[in-house]
Chain length 127, copies 2
DNA sequence: TTAAAAATAGTAATAATTACTATTTTTAGT
DNA sequence: ACTAAAAATAGTAATTATTACTATTTTTAA
């Protein structure tokens, strides 16, 4: 994998935010630095970065994928109302991961725990 | 929500399988009983059933959603090679769920733990 | 039995993502 | 620095999953 400024910019933006943005949001931001970048480039690089483990993909089921440059073990909280993804410090316990990998299933490359609910802000604006 | 034979057939098929099928697979199966059912009907009913809590949606990030009529607390193992979703008996611990709901985030309606890796069968066929 | 409400089939539309290709950028060796 | 091969890009077209729309059919409750 060769260096590319566009990929660096994508990484930089992702590392600077805690928003767990979608490909399109990332595109909009990177466009400020590289106005000619194409959405395909964003997608291709996100896929690459996920493959080499520098970025995490978060699937909430809301119709589009979210991305996170924080690859440390942590979980997420998804609000089905405002569609935001927030960090949680808790992580799947080692017990659980071991139970899975020793269950004879195969390799376990990642374990993601996703909580879904309605966040405080959304409840206050009574949706 | 009124009764419909198509919705019953969807539920019936989902309850009969452990395959965690996608909307399209469900469509193909229900079509054997109701050849005129449309894919839109499958989608609409799946969305409804998820809303009332009779069906679980499983987002693996493989480009399409998977569905499961087993709503008991359990986790899943996803093989990124053959794209199958398998059941795991382990569930997110009560501690984790409480930690999340008491973290002042909002309501916690569901907690899903998803393991991803390469399953035994796929490793044997050396992919 | 009947009329209102809900659901359906069939089709069109949308939105996210991937594929393709000619051009540009990066890299490794000179 | 110079250059050729390899990799990456922009721009666009194509694909795929999902949703929206509408005229017709089914379900339900009186």
């Amino acid at each position: 994998m060769n260096y590319s400024r566009q990929r660096e910019s994508i990484k930089e933006y992702l590392m600077s935010t805690k928003e767990h943005p979608t490909a399109d949001i990332i595109y909009q931001h990177v466009r400020e630095e590289y106005p000619k970048i194409s959405l395909g480039t964003v997608y291709r690089n996100l896929t690459l970065l996920v493959e080499v483990g520098e970025v995490r993909k978060i699937s909430t089921g809301d119709g589009t994928e979210h991305y996170d440059a924080d690859t440390s073990a942590h979980s997420h909280y998804y609000c089905r109302c405002c569609h935001r993804v927030m960090d949680l410090e808790i992580t799947p316990s080692v017990d659980q991961i071991l139970a899975a990998s020793s269950a004879g299933l195969g390799t376990v490359e990642s374990a993601n725990l996703l909580f879904t609910g309605v966040c405080k802000e959304c409840m206050e604006s009574q949706n």
